[in-house]
Amino acid sequence: MGTGGIAAGGAEVINAFRTELEASGIKAAVSENCSMHKVGCRGLCAKDVLVDVIINNNKTTYQYVKPDMVSRIVKEHIKKNTPVSEWVAGEDYHNFHKKQLKVVLSDCGSLDPEDIDAYISGKGYEAARKILTSVKPEDVIGIIKASGLRGRGGAGFPTGVKWEAAMKQSAKQKYMICNADEGDPGAFMDRSVIEGNPHAVIEGMIIGAYSIGADKGYVYIRAEYPLAVDRLRKALSDARTKGFLGKNIFGTKFNFDIKVKLGAGAFVCGEETALIASIEGQRGMPRAKPPFPVYSGLWGKPTVINNVETLANVPYIIRNGAQWFASFGTEKSKGTKVFALTGKIKNSGLIEVPMGIPLREIIYDIGGGPEDGKLLKAVQTGGPSGGCIPADMLDTPVDFESLAKVGSIVGSGGMVVLDEDNCMVNVAQYFLQFTQMESCGKCVPCRIGTKRLLEILDRITKGAGKEGDIELLEKLSSDIKAASLCGLGQTAPNPVLSTIKYFRNEYEAHLQGKCPAAVCKALLTYYILEEFCKGCGACIRACPAKAITGEKKKLHKIDPAVCIKCGACFDVCKFKAVKKE
């Protein structure tokens, strides 16, 4: 159960099962053979709450489980072994998993994240034990380099190269930091990994710290992730009790411990130098690189900062070998990537796919396509630093190079599906609202530039755009990208540039006073179609502004001068007689 599952009612469902099982005497009678496990997120948020009933290795998965359904599942399925067929997860659930390839998430959704023994029984901490007791640091780095693992936080920097640079530093004190300050709107990959399998991240950190020669580590995690923080803290304390953290780990001379540092809600603290400043107790503002943190990081010491997902890959690479990992993905982008699939898509949720999978397969085979048969317009990847990939480019393979080529990025793994009802100017405006608010204020192009971009977008969506605004957006965007200090400013204009690149016609339509997707309020007019209006009066009753008049069974009319464009009439009309454009 992750945050999503709990929000969908997972805790109530578990309680219902506990009560029901105890009341029916099953638990008492067959306690040796019956157990109940709370597991990490399985990804398919859209179908939560999911419950597996396993009888003699026969697994049945139920979807949309509510507490009042529990008693019937217990009575019919658990007692009489007849599954409640109408509640069993159907084709969607199985299709959702069919094209996925799970490495990082392989244990999420099957093991209890709060039970260290569950992790250990699945070969957990064996990789760390093997490395610490029998492999030299440079050989570990060799394995990671051979695996082709690249940073999952967004930039895709080769992990082995980063570790090697830190290892070669002669400083006595070095640091290993896990960046769990996931902040992209619509992204919840790192959160789910920590909630679902915190020990994999810890094990990855131990291996990394050993390789670079660090004896202190930090997990910098958002305070807005309370469940992840709780599970991480429990996992750290359990690992300490077992001797996997602390002094002389696995009987070796290697010492390493990890502290948790909570972020205070600044998006920019995901940028590594701002993150370091924040740990040091300073205002979270980035500084210019070089020097890079591997040379001068936390407290001026060599520091490696890896993303959660990157680190969670490490134990699996060590366990299964570099060749195994490198066998997935493309020539330059190895392994898998976790994405948070959201937006106008049927099966929204958390997915893990091999690098290089065509975007189409993610959207249609895994995601089940757009909701309600709507027309897909674009897929936004990489969050506020990313771009929009139009529907006619769905065959683009999803890997670092290919997405960069079409003007987007893999980023940390946000993937927002947009359909015909989304206005692309509005989408760009949304992301700019976010980035300009989250700019740290240090450098001019980001602080004032993103504000100006947003103002121009605002006026375009309000029908006050000026001739030359599109060109001005392009020019200002490219200047902000070139002149900004850190990754935030250098990528913030991407949503603007990519939407102009592929949907310039929508921008132009706005300048001519039309919003093709009928989203931008100021450009909309609501009116009633004579041929469909039955004169039922529903819209009159729904209108909060009293803008609609008309007698019963006669054509109703909207007064555009009074209409506040709230859309209440549009929603309430059963005859599709209200039109907006």
């Binding site: 600044a266 920019v268 205002r283 503002m285 500084r287 210019a288 070089p290 020097p291 300009q436 608010m437 989250e438 700019s439 740290c440 204020g441 240090k442 450098c443 001019v444 192009p445 602080r447 004032i448 530039g449 993103t450 504000k451 100006r452 103002e455 001005l472 020019k475 200002l476 200047d479 070139a482 002149a483 900004s484 200090l485 250098q490």
Partner: protein, 346 residues
């Protein structure tokens, strides 16, 4: 030593030197707003960006350390175009009321706007509006003119060791202010005024007292204490209207609240110009000889009647060593008592 080329000129500099400093050694001008030679580099204004061969994006020369064989180009059409955009952005959020600004004629931003010929601004938009509210008699803060270069924050932290101000808020709303946006309540050394490149921080004492072109500069030494800081008096007519200090002085241009602001007594009608002696319950003007004779006579009388230990001398730690030496000599040898101390030795 590290060898590099800047604009095709070869230079050898010590390791750790920044590209900006190396360029300045070659007399190559690179525009800056947030850089200050005495403060740690900030890299926020982005005006000092340069192209470095092999690096895909421009780097700020103020933060980039030199490296062997580095090839730097400080000015290209693309770089100048970016600098112009940055300046336009700054000016789009600036009152641009230069005709009534205290800093006019001495303002780094005004200079750059002039050199880059920025008259019209493509990027006009919302401007930050702040209320002025400081009640202190020394520092005028006009935060609408603040370009967030961070120099004031750094000088307060790195030179004064006070840390009275810092960045607050995020994005466009970012602002430099004291804790909880309270009124400024610090030592009022005014170092922040000295390093502010714009008219955001000025001295209340020199408000509307005169433009730079109207003043003469007189170098002098501060008389307040034994430090002997060098002062530059800005004199208009026969009146001191402002005091600051040059960076190439013994005090490196830094001053304290007294040295910087404590000059308005000069033309004060209350200023004491001659000694006063109280006669018949009233202070009357006297000559220096009269006054000194009177003191000597009284000291002698007290010593005779009550003994030397009835007299004590208290001096100031801020006096020069020589002055303090003479003072204790006087108390010990002339008065004949060991009752001598100064304010730092309680």
């Amino acid at each position: 030593m590290i060898k590099l080329t800047i604009d095709n000129k070869i230079i050898e500099v010590a390791e750790g030197t920044t590209v900006l400093d190396a360029a300045r050694m070659l007399n190559i001008e690179i525009p800056t707003l947030c850089h200050h030679p005495k403060l740690t580099p900030f890299g926020g204004c982005r005006l000092c960006i340069v192209e470095v061969k092999g690096v895909p994006r421009p780097l700020t020369s103020c933060t980039t350390p030199v490296s062997e064989g580095m090839e730097v180009v400080t000015s290209t059409p693309a770089i100048e175009d970016l600098r112009k955009t940055v300046l336009e952005l700054i000016l789009s959020d600036h009152p641009n009321d230069c005709m009534i600004c205290e800093k006019a004629g001495d303002c780094a931003l005004q200079e750059l706007a002039y050199f880059y010929g920025i008259k019209e601004n493509r990027l006009e938009g919302e401007r930050r509006i702040y209320k002025k509210k400081d009640g202190n008699p020394f520092i005028e803060r006009d935060m609408e003119k603040c370009i967030l270069c961070g120099r004031c924050v750094k000088v307060c932290e790195e030179v004064e060791g006070v840390g009275a101000i810092d960045f607050t808020y995020r994005g466009f709303q970012s602002k430099i202010c004291p804790t909880f946006e309270k009124d400024l309540d610090c030592e009022f050394c005014g170092q922040c005024i000295a390093v502010c490149p714009t008219g955001a921080l000025t001295g209340k004492a020199w408000k509307q007292q005169g433009r730079i072109k109207d003043t003469r500069e007189t170098e002098t030494t501060c008389g307040y204490c034994g430090c002997g800081c060098s002062l530059t008096l800005h004199v208009r007519g026969n009146e001191v209207i402002k005091i600051d200090s040059r960076e190439d002085t013994i005090n490196e241009g830094w001053l304290c609240v007294k040295g910087r602001f404590g000059y308005t007594f000069i033309n004060s009608p209350d200023r004491l110009k001659k000694p006063l002696i109280k006669r018949n319950g009233r202070f009357e003007e006297a000559s220096w000889n009269e006054a000194l004779d009177y003191i000597a006579e009284r000291l002698k009388k007290i010593k005779k009647e009550h003994g030397p230990d009835s007299i004590a001398g208290l001096s100031s730690a801020r006096c020069t060593n020589e002055e303090n030496y003479l003072f204790q000599k006087f108390i010990r040898a002339a008065i004949g008592t060991n009752n001598v101390d100064h304010c730092a030795r309680y």
